[in-house]
Symmetry: D2
Subunit: 377 residues, 4 copies
């Protein structure tokens, strides 16, 4: 049973590159390979999709600006299948994004070091080796594929239900920006270099991040996201709860460490009568929530109120400041990050969080379609 075979032939792999149940995306591509891509299966037909739709959102994720990594990626998405004359065909939609600014030499000196906070050591523990050219699949570069797919999911939600999804930088270094989730727009958010829609807080965040950058440090914080216009009745019981899918989606983003649905963290300190969102009816007789502490979800199913949540990110692991670590050999060493990294990932994380929310919502929309509501009596 088995021949003498090449000793480098081995046995690992991974099936973890697909997300979604009804609307499924499969992302591929290493951080320093020729390009990355995504195949989207289960998309409705007839949906207008253009490279421009993708580019608009990809541009928001792209590195650039005084406060982000100097890596330059034009991120020109090519649509290779699934679209004919600007409309989806209902067949798998394949997107390819060529990588142009790949300088793997930046990383070479670190190939031997287990960088703190990175997946270097754990990837080797998992797979026995890692792509020596960079972060491989653990790199944030993979998220560009999610953003391309998410742009299509968001357009689907917008056209079908008028759903608007807006993310923002909510908190940096313990300071939280005041935001009106019922009114917030992408335009409000993008007026700020840092994607914080409150001008005063935005200025404060900018200053904090600039200082961290100058000190060779990094900062974390919270990204908020809201979806307005989602009808009541999306999400499924037990393991298909909307909040459970959001947990899976958001915690699959690199550097995420916490999340709350609505203002869940505050809810843990309230009493029941202070926390429950009372129901009422509006002028049209539609059942509404008077408040929205729950983030628009009850029992994991949407109530018609805006869905909102916050996702916590740790500070960027790579910093210029000297840190101690160990080499593969076990030898303790010190090193400083010299690659192209953001002192704070939050501004670029905004479109990623929006994309994962759009993908979850579109998936649950299709789930509800498969299994429509009771119409009998």
């Amino acid at each position: 049973m088995g021949l003498a075979i090449d000793s480098r032939l081995t046995k690992f792999g991974g099936m973890s590159n697909t997300f979604g149940e009804y609307l499924r995306i499969t992302t591929w591509g290493e951080s320093h390979g020729p390009g990355i891509g995504v195949v989207i299966d289960g998309l409705p037909a007839g949906l207008p999709v253009t490279p421009q739709l993708l580019q608009r959102q990809l541009k928001r994720r792209r590195p650039g600006g005084a406060l982000s990594s100097p890596r330059r990626e034009p991120d020109e998405p090519q649509i290779l299948s699934g679209v004919f004359e600007g409309r989806t065909l209902g067949t798998p939609l394949s997107i390819y994004i060529e990588s142009s600014d790949v300088r793997s030499q930046d990383y070479e000196s670190l190939a031997d070091i287990y960088r703190p906070g990175h997946a270097d050591f754990t990837t080797e523990a998992r797979y026995g080796h890692r792509d020596p050219r960079g972060g491989g699949r653990a790199s944030a570069r993979e998220t560009a594929a999610r953003v391309a797919a998410g742009a299509i999911a968001a357009e689907f939600l917008r056209l079908e239900h008028g759903i608007e999804i807006v993310g923002w930088v909510s908190e940096v270094a313990g300071v939280r920006a005041p935001v009106d989730i019922d009114q917030l727009t992408v335009e409000n958010v993008d007026q700020s270099l840092i994607r914080c829609p409150d001008a005063e807080t935005s200025a404060r965040f900018e200053a904090e991040i600039a200082q961290a950058r100058d000190e060779g440090e990094s900062l974390g914080g919270w990204v908020g996201v809201v979806a307005r216009g989602v009808p009541a009745g999306w999400g499924d019981p037990v393991f298909g709860k909307m909040k459970a899918w959001l947990g899976l989606a958001m915690l699959s983003i690199p550097a995420t460490v916490a999340l709350e649905i609505g203002d869940g963290i505050a809810a843990t300190e309230r009493t029941g009568s202070d926390n429950n969102d009372a129901y009422d009816t509006n002028e049209e007789g539609v059942v509404i929530q008077r408040t929205n502490r729950s983030g628009g979800l009850q029992g994991g199913i949407t109530s018609g109120a805006p869905i909102w949540m916050r996702v916590g990110f740790k500070p960027t692991s790579t910093i210029r400041k000297s840190q101690e670590s160990v080499k593969k050999s076990g030898e303790v060493t010190t090193f400083s990050g010299t690659g192209r990294h953001d002192p704070c990932v939050l501004p670029r994380a905004v479109p990623i969080v929006e994309s994962m929310l759009a993908l979850v919502l579109a998936d649950r929309l299709l789930a509800r379609r498969a299994i429509p509501p009771f119409e009998g009596k």
Copy 2:
């Protein structure tokens, strides 16, 4: 296309009753039906499993005690397949738990009211109707099936790798108990009626919960959980990250509203150099983390340090205090909860959180077995 058919024949359903990729559980049963159960597929053979193993953990989830719901469920699990002479066969293991104390009349007066914080309204929005006998699948009763399955998963992890999983009540009403996650045992935890291992804080929690009960109120808080002994290298890149699976698992538990991996919430306020867990080697030359702010995960893959996290629960939605809500008719009404409910679910949530962690870990153990580490050079 279609005959004239009975008008009650309708079109909804749901595929959301299965959890796991390699080790899969499918739970079934309504809160007020004849019983509930779970089918476990993908279990290793040869594993010692007895009804007693299940009962020990089920007993910890069971209502009872001065501070919990007076509903009585003996919860005697019957193993109907998959075990022969006390060992698993590798075939599907089917567990049945008969329901004995089902008083659906308790709920009947509420059949017309959308209770705040409950899934009544959203379930109707999703499915057009709901089980008039009680919470149906949204009831916490469903979690007994998860606890039975989780007990087996935990035993598998214990026997294969000596893994210990311990949950505890970490925080009530904003007060956090000091806990040493490296030493904590189930025995420490179960000495406290409230499952808080710190005696002083436990007494304080008890007093708070007793007061809430007396006032017709409810409280939320945080459950902590730790798994010690998980080897480095479990979890998968991209969408198969250990933290992503934990997000899905924990947020599928009723009443959960937030979570943090390690002390993720605090991490959002730290700088990179304060937050990174430095690597070192121990006396045996094994790579270790000097600190464990990350909860034992880097890049979503285990590092060998204890995995730990906290899960936030909202206060119980049902309270005796009078609340306003609306009826199906749209009419505004007031009502008071009279059913059998806990003023604080946290003590009973501890084995549920432990079970979901065990199920995720066992699933990722099998994932790693399918795809073992690189052995070449």
Copy 3:
């Protein structure tokens, strides 16, 4: 990594007990355990389901009659969840069938022998051991769970679309019964002890099977099945073709060895102009096929013509006639089957084939609902 653990603790399992994508059944239970069962997830709500509906079809699968195994199983199905007042709730439907006539001693003398044509040797090669009490999961007893689930799927199809599914014994020992698939009914089929609707051929089959039984031999043959009333447009491209799902479904039945879609075997010998089913329109202007050589499928998608196919079964592996084989020790031995076995499984296979067809059709019906046809222009 790992403790010294009990040497019987081992590492196999299996995830192969679930069938279907949108409508999913998970079967459980060993042939000689306390009972078997099935959990059905994804079912529409409001569907009328009673134990009688299941029993009617289970009775047709049950051993009995001069030409079948003398094993007696009352097969009383209990519905443990998912149904309230005779209608499905849309929650998982759990069915339990207790086993009453389990005589495992019948099998004990064979525990050491690899019976030809059985899964004894291959199960040991797969899993290292096997359930010593009987066929375990490879036993035809498992198919009772499929028949219970299939009865519900068939009722769903009947009520929603007036679909009729009829199976029959088509061929024994190379002789084929003439059958009019457009008119055939279950009543026609069940008039025959052997489930062959053509009286003359039925008598011939009975004689052949009786002779095989008397000689300690067994016979195989073909079961045909037709579904009338399936609308055009069910089935999906590429890997979701209706014929591909039928291949998976039918070849998962024990003893199946061949299948043809429509009269596929004859089609392999025709020319294109002789084989293509010409399209035409009927009086109502609906597109129809003039002929139905293709079994109602074009490109793996239904055309509106009856779906029909035939499934080939090998002769029952267990025979009274003495056969040579080897023991576990490698020693060559002779033995004769003495258990309770059918000389020809075809009559009892009819409801199993019908059930798998019903499950596939109901699954594809839900698939089409999830993803409805183009309505734009």
Copy 4:
């Protein structure tokens, strides 16, 4: 609920573009789009993979030769991810094949006609419209992506277990070629233009096909395939049987209409004692089958004997001969195929059948790894 939206926005899609449980391929691309591709997830790392490996097999599928379609596709596969320095990384492997000879005008005159035997009408019934440029996803062009993936799966099987997979044209127009499945090689097969390894029968097939071509007709037949070297114990019980997976795989190939496992069709006419493969032991004490009527499978699990089966194809639906059909308008019309089509698809189907067998075997190899055999006592 919903805005006034563009009337072309619609609601179909499809999730049917992924195959496999552990080793999963997702194919994409329309027949007349810019190219096609496949993403392979779950592949072992360290496997040597080059574009040449893929090209060798793609070349065998490619149109060309006097007896096949004059469509020319260089089919140069580009590997866009998952491979570094000629070895797989264990990350998703993305393959792109640009389409160069796309003449969609060939098809335009047929856009209104439902061609008999094609998916034109049924695709419209399923989706409401179809890609006007050609066969879309139903086109055989999609199978090039499977062949690229299958070449990698076959290499994996060859290197790990020395498994050899050989397909051949077994039967045309009712005449069957004698073949020794224990000795047959790809070289034997490819000596024949028609891929029939028996020289005399090959000549006869060539003559038959040439005559069909000259008469504007087409022929079907059977492709055989054998895998030698597969160890005993692959495949899983119940719905994971090897034969069930083969049914799904083979009947997902365009134009397939029948299949038999081993000589399953003949088995339906034998008695049990004539059909059972007796077990014996060889000189090394290994359990073997004396005969191999069962195609190397017992209970759906491999026995160690060669796996073999035959797949039946209908005659090519497109023929030059004039046929009657209907237009979208319902009007009856006559037409003749003028596109680039093969009078007999069998020679080109050989590598497709081999590829699907390789993909099924590699998937079951990984399944067995996830869940290794019992090692206790």
